[in-house]
Structure formats: structure tokens, C-alpha cells
Subunit: 144 residues, 2 copies
DNA sequence: CTTTTATCGGACAAATTTGTCCACTTTAAT
DNA sequence: ATTAAAGTGGACAAATTTGTCCGATAAAAG
């Protein structure tokens, strides 16, 4: 569905959001450990999210990543997907034609459009914050 | 959503099915041309579909690919996806955890499960034959 | 039986994605 | 000021996916 980079990005954002809600910053090492991802690779992904102003980063001792109080209410899943994977989820044809185009559709356009529209709706209405809810009670997990 | 190989595989199957319904066989070259795919790569994919008994192949002069009269009524989209991409569509976690597992779910499991179940349902109930319908009237397209 | 035509399958090559390393910058603490 | 602790960013490496080449195999036609 998404690239591995995007999966890491979402998991990382959820973790940072959870800690930010508790008023904490987290280091790269903590993120990588929490979501079980390669540290340096995760760093690249967080840089991208930082440039897209989805997460904030602070350098120096006691630095780390966080999501500010205003941002945390607003960041939707689709922003992270868009920042990392671009618009291929939105514009891509299920059968691989250059672009999904209802005016010249592939044979499965109708079937795929239904699914894709629902996925889009889900991504656009799900906040990162809402995804942190089950974490502290161990109802949900960021690694296994 | 799917690998490129899988996209080629579905497009190829739809094309072969359309011709098979007209009682024709098609050569590798015709397939690759019809779906705008690299010939040798398409060959690998058709071999895989052939080994999974989704399409039939015949060697020698007047050889080519076809889908038999019984098969064409039965082949569903999900069989092609499964033959090429395996069960990652079915078992994969949306956030990249090793396996989607409701007993130890990722934070977005609920949201993803809804989408994935619908995708699964769609793939399992859509026949290749049904996807050929708009082709001859140029209502749908296998390449652009 | 030979030739021609087609798929089969293994080895190889290119491109993309994923992952690593290290020098650099920024910032806080001493 | 100096040092140590963090993220930054560029170059590189490994792995995976995508794509190519070519000889082997099978079958029909002459
Ligand atoms: S054209 Fe293929 S999904 Fe829309
Ligand atoms: S565990 Fe992540 S989608 Fe089910």
C-alpha cells in the first residue's frame, strides 16, 4: 500500500505525537527503538517530515523531535503519506496506467475508484493524535 | 497498491480473456503491444500465470496464450494478485508491522482493516471476464 | 526429418528503494 | 571558549524490483 519509508514515517509520527502530548521531546534513537526501524534511515524520513513542518526538530543537547500543541490537533494521516510517497495514492491507476483518468479509464477503474476514494477519505479524516489513544494502555503497538 | 509485475499481469489477463472470448489465441508480442509492457518481462509474468493455471500457453507455430472456456468464467482478480504478489495484500499491516494481527494491532489497524476487507471483497468477486466488457466498445482501455 | 515459430527458463543488467557512514552544523552545559 | 550532544545532509552500499538477452525446448508445417 505504502512504501516502507512511509510506514516508518507514520509510525514515527504517532510515537512522537504520543510523547509530545505528555510534553516530552524524543531523540532519534528513541524513535528508532520505539518503532523498530533503522536509525539512519529513520533520520532521513524525519528530516523530510520536518521540512514539511509535520514534526519539529531541535538540535543540540536535550534536542530531539516533537509535534507542537497546535500542530498535533491538525496533522492528518494523509499529510504524512503525501510528504513521503507523494500523490501516487491519489492519482495512481490500480492497473498501472500512467494516471487514473475517468475520461479514459482502465477496465477496473470503477472498482478501484470506490476503494481509493474510501482510503482517501480515511487518510484525510484521521488525525495522528487519534492514533495515539490506544498506545499507553497497550491496546495498540508500534512494533512487535 | 500492487507491484508493477502484478499490474502487467492483470492487464495481460484481461487482454487474453477478451481475445479468448472471441475464440482467439494471442502471442507474447501481441500481449506486450496491447498492454504497453516490456516483452521479456511480460513473458516472465505470463509464465507465472501459466504455472498457476490462470492462463494456458501453447508452444510452436500458431502457439500463444489463451484462457479456456471453463477457466474464463471462474478466474477472479484475486487469483492473479495472489499468483504474482502473494498474500501481502491480505496479510500485510498498513503500518508495516510484520503481520496484520488483530490480537496485537497497530494504531491504525481498525481504519486499515475496513479498507483492506473491502479491497479483498472486491478482488474476490470480480471476474476477469467482467473486466473485458467495456474493451471492444472502447469504453475502457489497457494502455494510453 | 528438417525448419520454422513460438514459449520457457536461467543468467545477467539497470533502476529504484532501502539502509549505512561520516563529516558538518547547531546548541546547551561546563 | 571548550566540549559534548544532538539533528543535517551528502556520498556510498545493499537489497529488491524491474527489465533484457539468449540458448533450450516444444510443436506444427513443409
Ligand atoms: S484508470 Fe485505472 S483506476 Fe482509474
Ligand atoms: S496490525 Fe496494522 S493493519 Fe492490522
Amino acid at each position: 500500500m505504502f512504501s516502507k519509508a512511509c510506514e516508518y514515517g507514520i509510525r514515527a509520527s504517532i510515537f512522537i505525537a504520543e510523547r509530545s502530548l505528555m510534553g516530552m521531546k524524543v531523540s532519534l534513537k528513541e524513535v528508532a527503538n520505539a518503532i523498530d526501524s533503522p536509525e539512519a534511515y529513520t533520520s532521513k524520513i524525519l528530516q523530510k517530515l520536518s521540512r514539511h513542518e509535520i514534526v519539529s526538530s531541535e538540535k543540540g543537547p536535550n534536542g530531539g523531535y516533537l509535534i507542537g500543541p497546535q500542530q498535533i490537533e491538525k496533522v492528518m494521516l494523509n499529510e504524512i503519506v503525501f510528504a513521503i510517497d507523494g500523490d501516487k495514492v491519489y492519482q495512481g491507476c490500480g492497473l498501472g496506467l500512467p494516471k487514473c483518468d475517468g475520461a479514459k479509464p482502465c477496465p477496473a477503474h470503477h472498482q478501484f475508484k470506490i476503494i481509493r476514494d474510501e482510503l482517501k477519505e480515511m487518510l484525510e479524516t484521521t488525525t495522528i493524535k487519534s492514533l495515539t489513544l490506544g498506545l499507553s494502555e497497550s491496546l495498540t503497538f508500534l512494533k512487535r
